[in-house]
Amino acid sequence: MATKINRIGLEMQPYRGGKTTLCAGCGHNAISERIVDAFFEMGVDSSQVVKLSGIGCSSKSPAYFLGGAHGFNAVHGRMPSVGTGAMLANRKLIAIGVSGDGDTGAIGIGQFVHLMRRNVPIIYIIEDNGCYGLTKGQFSPTADLGSTLKTGIVNDLPPIDTCALAIQLGASFVARSFSGDKKQLLSILKASLSHRGTCMIDVISPCVTFNDHEGSTKSYAYAKEHDEVLGEVSFVPFFEDISVDYDPGTTKEVELHDGSKLYLKKVAEDYDPTNKFEASRLIHEAARRGEFATGILYIEPDKDDFVTLLNLVDEPLATLPLERTRPGREALDEIMESLR
């Protein structure tokens, strides 16, 4: 079999990263693999990518994909601010952040909230296992009510639904998936690379070591059983000339920032992924049934991202020449005169 080459002439290898040090079978590893696939298939130039994370097992994973990209493993829960700073410094970068449900939902909830609000152009993935893997299995804020720890301790607080929150706060691309659903996750990730704005992707990613037992609502078994797939996500990148046929009324077509197209099969006739209220309703109704809805839940393709809002020059701020960042002598003279 001939080796596959992508549209910028690269093989898969450069998209891989270091060897994972996570547990065998950890959902996070499957997500890393999908990220490799997505960036390869989309033909992204790794040298223009920044990989960001906080602290946790999940946050280690940027070391395991895209070896040619710069990575930044920040402090616990604070990746959003670091990512925001990096994107302001260089608007040309493609940013992908990986967080955990503890990193996002607990210590980092404040920064998460403001990242969504600002719609900073970042693909923000939560590898959601309902527990703190790296500190050995405590509940995280996405653990469902009644879910149990291995020790039998029952969670008696309601979960934070990061997707519902992201939609309410202003993220312009919100999806949920399951690390075990290769096809859906890949389509979502590829679509996120074509979107400009915050892409918040919550991926149920079981922790085989601490939260894969009966009684856990984030185990493989539970996830397989309760994954309510919203309908097929078909993504056609701008560089592929494919037309998709569908019956009118059954599929929603969305054109993304770079001209790629997204075809979202409707689950219910009245569901519209560009409508915030419906997206929120869908999430909450699934949760009430004890299920979780997966797919692209909400998308607002034309919303201004933070860089656009700040009206930044087209070139990266980081490398602007001195003539453009230091005002001339006349400017200083004028200011001095005003202070006399």
């Binding site: 960001l52 920040a74 994107m87 403001h114 700040l310 980081a318 002598r329 202070l339």
Partner: protein, 631 residues
């Protein structure tokens, strides 16, 4: 008077014929939110415009309206512009503090008071001027709602007459202050003139204080340290700013926004060559700075003590992962919320080492508005050269008060962007590792995302020379030792201290930041009052340079003057000086929230030197504090 100072009244009233020219302090006691700021700044500015060295200090409460505020203006022909402890001329507008303000004056001082306060009988040893403000203001301002706002201009008019401040300068200063607000100018001018006329017809000059024109401020500017710092950041080519509002820092980024909108928007496209973000808190501010610095931008934030505390974890990341960034700390009084609107040098020790583990940071310490400007530029260069955070340690007194200064020079050096790897260097080096010490100075080469050069993984966890995750003891030690080497190299790059040697002097003084102004004046007092000569070294940065140790060697007793309780800078010196040098060090400490003054320094030194007894000094107990509201 603001809490903290005191006076005893025993001396007889002064003869009225004495004239004291261009050497006195005025204190205006009002409540905040009463619109007195305009009147105070106009008075300050008009004395400045008359060529007389002057300074203005606002001692305000942490609340928006209704609490006592004192504004001190000091005119000094010799150019001493630190705070003067004694008040020579009190403008008593606040009924709540008037009594205490009057009781704490030195004999011979003058009091200008609002007639209904009836202060005259409180003391026999003062000069009193009574002004019926409400009556005068009713005549010049028909709109009753506006009267409160222009009432204060009346005391400017009265003072103009009593002190001989030129009315033309007053008017010019008023116009400058109010800019295009024509109606406001008209109203205020009316009040100013009414005050002048009242004084002309009803008051007889009895105090000795007068202003006479000089030429000492010709060509100079009046500016706040925070505005100067903002200007320095703009000229340093800052591109990313993230901040969270906090007194006394906010005016730095706020002024910067104004400058950047005017001077840093591309003419052709109308687009910004900068990003300024009001973050959700200080943790996010420093996170954005670090993200931006890592991606190659010149990034900064500005904060005060509480923000520094919050930034602690990130500061360690920047130190250990070696990411550049600039942090202004406009110090205020701690611990905790402390006195948010009062000044201190209380963050020196924490900031030098902020974060857990073995961490050390570069600090620059401006004493003047000009240094706020130049050190802002130094800070960005050093941050990029050393790939670390650089803290600019200003304080409330410097940041929020108006200081006169020579105009700032245009920077004539290019930016130092430090060791950014480029293709040629990569070829020369052959092998590149993010944390390799190729040049022996502890400073590695870095690449930035998007530059097409080798990428690396930045992390706050253990790493080896190549930036790979490592928990090996030898990798860890090697890395930490290199960071020390880098810090040692920094000693050669930071601004050196300013040294004023005095061969054969009895004592030496070490100071830094705004304490400079009190020390500078104290040197003269020591000479005149006790025939004592003192050498002086002003620190301008941490890490210390060699100059510090050799300076201490030349003197017997060395006093470290600082505005904190715990002798923080002396503490930092202890960490690295030899024991014989440490043995020479003593402390002069001032930490009541008010800017340090020469009198306090001189008295403390004379007592410690056995030239005065504590009892012979002005007794020093005082009175009620300000009830602070917001924070």
């Amino acid at each position: 008077m603001p809490p903290g100072d005191a006076a005893v009244h025993e001396a007889a009233p002064q003869p009225a014929t004495r004239r004291i020219v261009n050497d006195f302090s005025i204190q205006v006691a009002t409540v905040n939110g009463s619109g007195s700021q305009t009147a105070n700044l106009v008075l300050l500015r008009s004395i400045f415009q008359m060529g007389v060295p002057v300074s203005g200090k606002n001692m305000f409460p942490s609340n928006i309206a209704g609490l006592p505020t004192w504004f001190t203006i000091r005119a000094n022909k010799d150019g001493f512009i630190g705070r003067k402890k004694e008040v020579d001329f009190l403008v008593a507008m606040n009924p709540e503090t008037a009594r205490e303000d009057v009781l704490s004056l030195e004999p011979g001082a003058a009091v200008l008071y609002d007639a209904p306060l009836k202060l005259k009988d409180l003391r026999q040893d003062l000069v009193f001027y009574s002004v019926p403000y409400d009556k005068i203001v009713a005549e010049v301002c028909k709109d009753a709602k506006l009267r409160r706002l222009v009432k204060n201009m009346i005391y400017d008019g009265v003072l103009s007459k009593l002190l001989g401040v030129d009315m033309g300068q007053m008017e010019a200063a008023l116009r400058k202050q109010l800019g295009p607000k024509v109606k406001a100018i008209e109203l205020n001018l009316g009040a100013l003139k009414a005050g002048f006329e009242f004084a002309e017809h009803h008051l007889e000059k009895q105090d000795p204080y007068v202003v006479e024109p000089m030429t000492k401020t010709a060509g100079m500017i009046l500016v706040e340290g925070n505005a100067a710092g903002a200007l320095g950041c703009m000229m340093a080519g800052v591109t990313v700013v993230a901040w969270y509002p906090i007194t006394p820092s906010s005016s730095l980024p706020e002024t910067l926004i104004g400058y950047m909108k005017k001077y840093r928007v591309d003419k052709a496209t109308g687009k910004a060559t900068f990003a300024i973000v009001q973050a959700e808190d200080e943790i996010a501010s420093i996170g954005m700075v670090i993200g931006a610095g890592w991606a190659g931008a010149r990034a900064m934030t500005s904060t005060a003590g509480p923000g520094i505390s919050l930034m602690s974890e990130f500061a360690g990341l920047a130190y250990y992962a070696e990411v550049p960034g600039v942090v202004f700390d406009i110090q205020r009084v701690g611990p905790s919320t402390g006195l948010p609107t009062r000044t201190a040098q209380g963050d020196m020790l924490t900031t030098a080492m902020v974060s857990h583990g073995d961490t050390k940071h570069i600090m620059l310490i401006p004493a003047s508005v000009q240094e706020c400007y130049t050190m802002a530029m130094d800070a960005f260069d050093l941050a990029e050269r050393f790939q670390t955070l650089v803290f600019v340690m200003s304080d409330l007194d410097l940041g929020m008060n108006s200081w006169m200064s020579d105009p700032f020079p245009y920077p004539d050096t290019p930016l130092d962007r430090g060791k950014l790897l480029d293709k040629a260097t990569l070829e020369r080096l052959g092998e590149w590792g993010r944390y390799m010490d190729v040049d022996g100075d502890g400073i590695p080469y870095r690449t930035i995302p998007g530059d097409g050069l080798p990428a690396y993984f930045t992390r706050g966890s253990g790493h080896n020379e190549k930036g790979q995750y490592s928990e090996r003891p030898d990798d860890y030690v090697k890395n930490l030792d290199r960071l020390v080497r880098k810090f040692e190299t920094a000693r050669q790059y930071v601004p050196r201290p300013e040294v004023l040697d005095e061969p054969g002097a009895d004592i030496a003084i070490i100071g830094y930041g705004t304490s400079h102004w009190a020390i500078d004046e104290s040197l003269g007092q020591l000479r005149e009052e006790a025939g004592m000569r003192a050498a002086y070294l002003r620190l301008r940065a941490y890490p210390f340079t060699d100059d510090l140790g050799t300076f201490i060697d030349r003197y017997q007793r060395v006093y470290v003057v600082e505005q904190n309780r715990d002798a923080q800078m002396l503490g930092l010196m202890r960490l690295e000086l030899s024991s014989d040098r440490i043995a020479k060090l003593r402390s002069v400490l001032h930490y009541n929230g008010l800017p340090i003054d020469a009198r306090s320094v001189t008295d403390d030194l004379l007592v410690q030197e056995g030239r005065k007894t504590k009892e012979s000094l002005h007794a020093g107990v005082i009175a009620a504090g300000v009830q602070a509201g917001g924070e």
